[in-house]
């Protein structure tokens, strides 16, 4: 029996009811865990949006709000996309906030010069002028104007984002619930950097930082997305888009930092069969949306969400010092790491770096969350 069909049957026959029971018990016993998701929520769908939906579906999570930061796309288009997602999901009670439009110091012009010196980047997010044929995905065309929101196939939202800036919202919420709010960042760290510099107590007042980003020693995988790491194993888009913000954030005094880098994601993939399975069995209002627009990527952001929801998925991790290279050299935006106690002592902090996960259990969790009824 093919593995995917086995998995699908397993999900249908066993896991969904079991997890529903578990969640019902949890809901009665434990307070929900507070989280702010900071996303470069490009679309119409894909890893960013699927990760948001997973969090919205998890009964144990209390999503305080969603912050959009430029990266894969420009902020305003991401905000529109996220608002529309919430309408489709019937979750318009979740507030959406605009974060940073531009990285702190980096720019498209600098990046173009860098490419002349050091070679073409595989992926540049909102600055990607031309898309590679391989791994081509459905997305709106390149547009240089950050404030342009092109028509989306999922339509324009009727609801509006909050007036408060995403960074101010993050600061306000960690102080409202000291030690209880996770900042889950799955895009560039510009907005988190602003929050940290607006309030020196921000990072230490949060419960923890969980981020998707950085790259250490990713292994070859059977999809096109892992190819870029053959020549640049330490270069990852979220960190490189705003290297200064990433370095700043990773040197803040968080109680805990959990890094979900590229490494454990190369063995994951949001397969076409997953989308078909969701289309066939999904009970949530967004089932049709995922059926029509769900996209097949490595499950970067879904994994960050899953690791936060269920830490037992992690089968291998290592505590190490992590920083991002801000020198404007060939290594710009690259991941720097050292053994604990072996760093330069320039403020670098230790992080729990996720190196491998139980992929079948992760896939089951993902499908469970995306197919269950609206909580």
């Amino acid at each position: 029996m093919p593995r995917l069909i086995r998995l699908t049957l397993l999900v249908a026959a066993l896991l969904v009811p079991a997890s529903l029971l578990t969640t019902a018990a949890q809901a009665a016993d434990a307070p929900r865990r507070k989280v702010i998701i900071d996303q470069d929520a490009f679309g119409p769908a894909g890893s960013n949006m699927q990760a948001i939906l997973m969090l919205l579906q998890a009964r144990e999570a209390e999503v305080l709000g969603i912050v959009c930061t430029s990266g894969d796309g420009w902020r305003d288009e991401e905000v529109a996309n996220t608002l529309r997602l919430l309408e489709i999901a019937g979750r318009t009670e979740i507030p959406v906030y605009g974060g940073a439009v531009y990285p702190l110091v980096n720019s498209q012009a600098r990046t173009q010069v860098w490419e002349r010196l050091h070679g073409a980047l595989y992926y540049k997010g909102a600055w990607t002028e031309t898309w590679p044929d391989q791994g081509a995905v459905r997305r709106t065309p390149y547009h240089a104007d950050p404030f342009l929101v092109p028509p989306s196939p999922i339509g324009a939202p009727r609801i509006k984002p909050q007036a408060e800036h995403g960074a101010a919202f993050m600061v306000r919420k960690v102080h409202e619930f000291p030690g209880q709010v996770t900042i889950l960042t799955a895009g560039p760290m510009t907005t988190v950097a602003l929050a940290a510099r607006l309030d020196p107590s921000f990072a230490a007042t949060a419960e923890q930082l969980v981020f998707m980003g950085a790259s250490f020693n990713p292994q070859p995988a059977d999809n096109d997305f892992a190819k870029e790491f053959v020549h640049s194993p330490r270069r990852e888009f979220n960190m490189r888009w705003d290297a200064e913000a990433a370095s700043l954030v990773l040197r803040e005094p968080w109680k805990q930092i959990t890094a979900v880098p590229v490494d454990p994601t190369t063995r994951t993939f949001f397969k076409r069969e997953f989308i078909d399975h969701i289309a066939a069995t999904g009970k949530a209002p967004f089932t049709r949306y995922l059926a029509d627009y769900g996209q097949s990527f490595p499950m970067w952001d879904e994994l960050a969400v899953a690791v936060w929801l269920r830490p037992s998925l992690v089968t291998r991790s290592q505590r190490m010092l992590v920083d991002i290279d801000t020198s404007f050299t060939a290594g710009y935006g690259g991941t720097l790491s050292w053994p604990v106690g072996g760093g330069p002592g320039l403020g670098e902090r230790d992080a729990i770096v996720v190196q491998d996960v139980d992929v079948p259990a992760f896939e089951q969790l993902t499908l469970d969350l995306l197919t269950r009824a609206r909580p």
Copy 2:
């Protein structure tokens, strides 16, 4: 007759009444010009505080608020110092805002490593562990804790700062009065950088940026403070404390940037005789304070204020492209400049760089403002 005494007589006999008349006429005719001053307001007195007092005394200026940003000192000590200054000056209606505590990327640890590679810095603001004998000034001792506010000889303030962050205040005010608010920054640019990244329309909505900082080709002067520029003509403290913020801010789309660099300040000095003159003739409530705590520096920040109040003081200036070096090399934080049209095209903007001023007229304006009665 010694030049200073001539000047003093001139001020006493002629200039004060003349300028009072001028100002009275201006007050009747013209709306006051709106300004936010962003200061590393260390003390108890000195160039920072004297510049604030000049602005408060100028009837043509409407000071919307004072923002304190770490640099010469730490933010919280600067806030306390500024609040106390306003009490002493009887101007407690002016709101005071806390800005950035730390620079974006730079840190004391990085700076210490940089010094091991590239030689000791002459001056490091709040990071200056040991003060040089030459040019020694009255200031609170070095303290590594940014949030410690040591006892001040001018006493602790009874009034409080605003709860709103200085960057948010700047953003709010430029939108309240589009095209009408000058941001006058006389310290590091961290808070202005935060405002720019919180709101991409911030810089273009202000009237202009006037800043004291950067250094181009300063000429030798007869005071110790110019000595550091012999070996590093392009290195200036405000820019170097937060090179990333300075570069970011100078690449924003301001309608106008006016730079008051070190160059025109090397011929200026807040002489002991000026303090004595203020003590003898001053009519403002802060006269005793300046008599007791006024300090003799080059008139860095006073000149930035004066150039904004009276542009005709400028005798030589040049429009050029200006940026700050963010490479972590010997040149870190140094001033970069190019002829208009000759830059690398990485977003650098043109600024009006003040190269020389009418020093006697500037001194007269300063003494006029600091001796006149409270407006």
